[in-house]
């Protein structure tokens, strides 16, 4: 059985923008990874942008991965309906001033990714944007960051803990995916330049949108592949 990894659009955008989409086929071939996207993510990164010439190059390359079965689209009504429930819960975890004013933090694509995790017995969620990742890893940290921006923000802490418990799945970013692939020879064809290319790719991912700190980048720069 493949190792299913549900992919959010934020990571696929980072990989596409840095010419690192090859990581997906590399890991599919060498590690039996099964990369999955829900319908809402397909629409975000293929459907809608393919109609705008400025964004169509990225969209065409990701569509190619779908056509080549490197990315598998899972679209069914139960995913959308489960995503609705997830959005209803996530979007009532935090509020402005009082619980009658909930803050909408997640949208359809991210919620559909979460909805796929359990039914597909996924190994991880690939996500570069911080809110979905923090909901899985440390919702308390998300709350404190929100409070720092808007001190009147409140949270339903019990619901927050329950939400996190519902999704016991590790989150990984495009940087971890690329670093793991690099450790296993993804940049091997660069021969003596392999390490330099790997280190540069981590910087490139950051500037393409991966939420990674400078300290983490520095740690990656110390890694040899």
């Amino acid at each position: 059985m493949g190792k299913t990894i549900v992919c959010d659009s934020s990571s696929l955008i980072s990989l596409a923008e840095t010419c690192n989409l090859g990581v997906l086929s590399f890991l599919q071939e060498d590690f039996k990874a099964d990369f999955v996207i829900p319908a809402a993510v397909e629409n975000e990164i293929v459907g809608r942008p393919s109609k705008v010439s400025r964004f169509s190059y990225t969209a065409a390359r990701i569509r190619h991965l779908v056509n080549e079965s490197v990315l598998r689209v899972v679209a069914n009504p139960s995913v959308a309906s489960e995503a609705e429930k997830i959005m209803a819960r996530a979007n009532s975890l935090f509020y402005a001033e009082n619980p009658d004013r909930p803050l909408k933090i997640l949208q359809q694509g991210e919620a559909e990714c979460l909805a796929l995790l359990a039914p597909l017995q996924s190994k991880a969620l690939l996500v570069d944007e911080k809110t979905t990742r923090l909901l899985l890893e440390d919702p308390g940290k998300l709350f404190s960051l929100m409070k720092a921006e808007h001190p009147q923000t409140g949270a339903n802490e019990k619901a927050m803990a329950e939400f996190q418990k519902q999704f016991p799945f590790p989150a990984m970013r495009s940087t971890e995916l690329t670093a793991f692939a690099a450790q296993n020879g993804f940049f091997g064809s660069y021969n003596a330049d392999e390490n330099e290319v790997f280190h540069a790719s981590i910087y490139a991912l950051r500037y393409a949108g991966c939420g990674i700190s400078q300290k983490e980048i520095d740690d990656y720069q110390k890694m040899r592949v």
């Binding site: 991880a124 570069d128 808007h150 700190s213």
Partner: protein
């Protein structure tokens, strides 16, 4: 802060050509857009940012189209304020939307620079919403910015410094487990 107060602050700052205040308001309106999930706050944020940028450019202020734009914008903001004060929310929102269209129309007279400002204003609003806690998808949806452009705009700020939860060593251990 309520919508009426926003309108007053925006009108006053534009009337006085107060560039720093317009820039400050742009960020504040975007943050409020997240709190109220209201697109009118985004429109106000874009208007404030665009006006600040226009006021920074002497060649725009010297253009014959500027005077008429300035009068029309102030008049629309004033009418929106009157509508809101008399309990007519929908017409007030419609006037804010019209004020944004006025900026877009100015683009037809002044060229590409104006359209660039509107796109930049959406990115700035989206980044503010993201900083307030929204996901990238929500921030893009509410601000009207393209997700791809918003994510690289955010990446170039210092925001990602705040979102660390695990060390790289831990993350690489997790990756090994995932693929083992």
């Amino acid at each position: 802060m309520d919508f009426k107060e926003h309108l007053i602050l925006l009108r006053n700052a534009f009337e006085k050509s107060n560039i720093p205040e317009l820039k400050r308001l742009s960020g504040e309106f975007a943050g409020d857009a997240f709190i109220h999930y209201r697109k009118e706050n985004i429109q106000m944020s874009i208007i404030a940012y665009a006006c600040a940028k226009f006021l920074e450019k002497p060649y725009i202020l010297a253009d014959p189209a500027w005077d008429s734009f300035r009068k029309s914008l102030l008049s629309l903001l004033e009418k929106a304020l009157q509508d809101w004060s008399s309990g007519k929310q929908a017409p007030a929102f419609a006037k804010v939307a019209k004020a944004l269209s006025l900026i877009e129309r100015l683009g037809a007279d002044l060229g590409r620079f104006v359209f660039g400002i509107i796109e930049k204003a959406k990115l700035k609003a989206g980044a503010e919403i993201y900083a307030h806690g929204a996901s990238l998808g929500t921030a893009a949806e509410l601000s009207g910015a393209e997700k791809k452009e918003l994510s690289s705009y955010i990446a170039a700020t210092r925001m990602p410094e705040k979102y660390v939860t695990k060390s790289v060593a831990q993350r690489m251990q997790d990756a090994k487990k995932i693929f083992s």
